[in-house]
């Protein structure tokens, strides 16, 4: 697993994924770089249209083409660039080395096959074992993800399962071939609060058991605070801040992250604490403003921000920020507005 000596399992460099549409070129992902360490949980946060889902789909080369296209960058997994893989290599790789769980467990399972059937298919896709062994393996997986009454449930159809149960089955399928990376794209958004907690706990436990890494894509800062080791904040197709979770929450250096933290209603805050929204709305990805994409909503913007997009740079060790004024926040010479 750890071939190169360091413990990076995945490295994404300057990834650009564009969609060519009637209205123009949509720069859904425009220069994303990050790395993922072994047994790490990386949180990718951002709002709708920030490019977080497209980033995940790009890693698995699941971008619908046309209209989409990965135009630039490299995605290195285990020393190999995923973008150079041919069809056969890709097939062997998807679901085996990296697998993905989607947001909506209602549409991710095929309604006409039994749960067991679909789970066994997922296993047999990458393993050459007998039917009987496969069935045993399926039972083991279902038990692992906490499905009660396994033998009966094995023969059930998806519609007999609740949303939470289906998501458990999806997780069982995703970990069937013990992948090194599990990408979860808003895995609990469609679920109720109490079920959400169950699923997230399950994923966290499984990570420990299978020694894999997780990329969790979400808009919920609470989920990130609880589960992520490192966090990448995305805005309009680009990473704006990338660091240890504590840095992101206690010492955010990008105005967007700073704004985000102040705009959320929190369970540990009272009624009288005023929310401070980020004014305006995200820009259209077809027609991004010159310079920094956030500057039109940014209360700290200067002339410099208009001319050039600030590169993602390491402001302090392990803390990457794409803002010209990040150093000032760090040194305290620029005070974050109340």
């Amino acid at each position: 697993m750890d071939s190169s000596g360091n413990n990076k399992i995945l490295e994404v460099n300057n990834l650009k994924t564009y969609f060519y549409t009637d209205g123009g070129i949509v720069k859904a992902v425009d220069g994303v770089s990050f790395d993922l360490k072994v047994m790490e949980t990386l949180g990718i946060v951002g709002e709708t249209g920030s490019g977080k889902s497209v980033t995940a789909l790009s890693i698995l080369r699941l971008i619908p083409q046309p209209p989409g296209k990965i135009v630039e960058g490299e995605i290195i997994f285990d020393g190999k660039n995923i973008l150079d893989m041919d069809k056969k290599e890709l097939q062997d790789f998807r679901g085996n080395k990296i697998s993905m769980i989607f947001q909506d467990p209602m549409t991710s399972l095929n309604p006409v096959f039994t749960i067991g059937n679909q789970l066994m298919e997922a296993i047999l896709a990458h393993k050459k074992i007998t039917k009987k062994e496969c069935r045993e393996e399926s039972y083991r997986l279902l038990e692992l993800v906490g499905i009660p009454d396994i033998k009966r449930r094995f023969e059930s159809y998806p519609h007999e399962f609740s949303g939470g149960m289906r998501q458990r089955v999806m997780i069982a399928m995703a970990i069937a071939n013990s992948p090194s990376i599990l990408i979860a794209d808003e895995p609990t958004t469609a679920l109720d609060v109490t079920i959400q907690a169950q699923i997230l706990e399950l994923m966290d436990e499984l990570k420990e058991k299978t020694k894999s890494s997780i990329i969790i894509i979400t808009h919920d800062l609470g989920v990130v605070a609880k589960y992520a080791d490192r966090v990448m904040v995305m805005y309009a197709g680009r990473p704006v801040e990338f660091s240890q979770v504590d840095n992101i929450f206690y010492n955010p250096l990008h105005p967007y992250t700073i704004g985000l933290m102040k705009s959320i209603a929190r369970l540990d805050h009272g009624k009288n604490e005023k929310l401070k929204p980020i004014e305006g709305t995200p820009p259209s990805l077809i027609d991004l403003p010159e310079g920094c994409v956030f500057r039109v909503r940014c209360e700290y913007a200067e002339d410099e921000c208009k001319s050039q997009y600030p590169p993602l740079s390491e402001i302090e060790p392990g803390h990457f920020v794409s803002c010209f004024r990040a150093k000032e926040f760090l040194s305290g010479s620029l005070v974050r507005n109340k």
């Binding site: 949509v26 971008i63 679901g95 095929n110 997922a122 820009p283």
Partner: protein, 320 residues
Amino acid sequence: MHGWIQESGLKKKKLMFEKEKESIGITGEIAEDSYLEKKYSRSSLYKDALKRLRRNKLAMLGLAIVIALILIALFAPLLAPYDPIARIKADSSLAPSSVHLFGTDLLGRDIFSRVIYGSRISIEVGIIAVGISVIIGLFLGALSGYFGNIPDTVIMRIADIFFAFPYILGAIAIMTVLGPGVINIFIAIGILGWASFARIFRSSILTIKNKEYIEAARALGASNYRIITKHIFPNAFAPIIVYATMNIGTAIIVEAALSFLGLGVQPPTAAWGKMLAESLDYIDIAPWMMVFPGLAIVITVLGFVLLGDGLRDAFDPKLR
């Protein structure tokens, strides 16, 4: 690889792409009005549909045929070189030539002129008969879809009966009762066609009825009439336009069939179906008598069907 995961993945990502597309503003999201303003034109469903229609070559061909046909029908007196019912004895059963482009029939009438005048009947029947179907269909469909329960059951069971009845046979039955004549053709075809429109409209209403903007209108105290006309109607109309266009083709065929059987347009009026019937006995000696009206029917129906198909794709690009 595990087929469904992959497949569902594909579906999922398509869905996600749609969502993403919506959110990132491909459909035209305005951000703070200042710097994005210029990019967003005032586009609506109908404008978008028109744009897609224009790119569809077959649909444009269909549209061209339909427009040409309407122009021909309108300007028939100017286009036709001869009176369509005037008999030129000396010229009977002439093969196509520079004098008579499509030849003449047994009574010495110019087939080219008759085909041109025949378009009038076809277009009239197509538009008026389908118009009648649409009106009946919309009314009953609205009753059925909006109010449900008993009106729904009654109307839909009657519609089932209409569906079960062969179209041509029904038309023949009605024409036999009403007697031949153009107006009766409108009535017969109009009555027979309503059921499909009622069904389509009903199902659109059922999906729209539970949308939140309908609830919002009801919460404001809007009357049923207002909700149907102001909220449901404009949103449910697209499939009706599509189906009506395609149905015009069918109506034209039925009219031709009825005229062919002698139940429709009466001589000496020029109608394509009637012309076909008249040509029947002379296929070997004067094939042009059949070929040209036959071609006219085929091209016309094709025109409407192509246009209808194109409209369907244009209104609902997801179907493709």
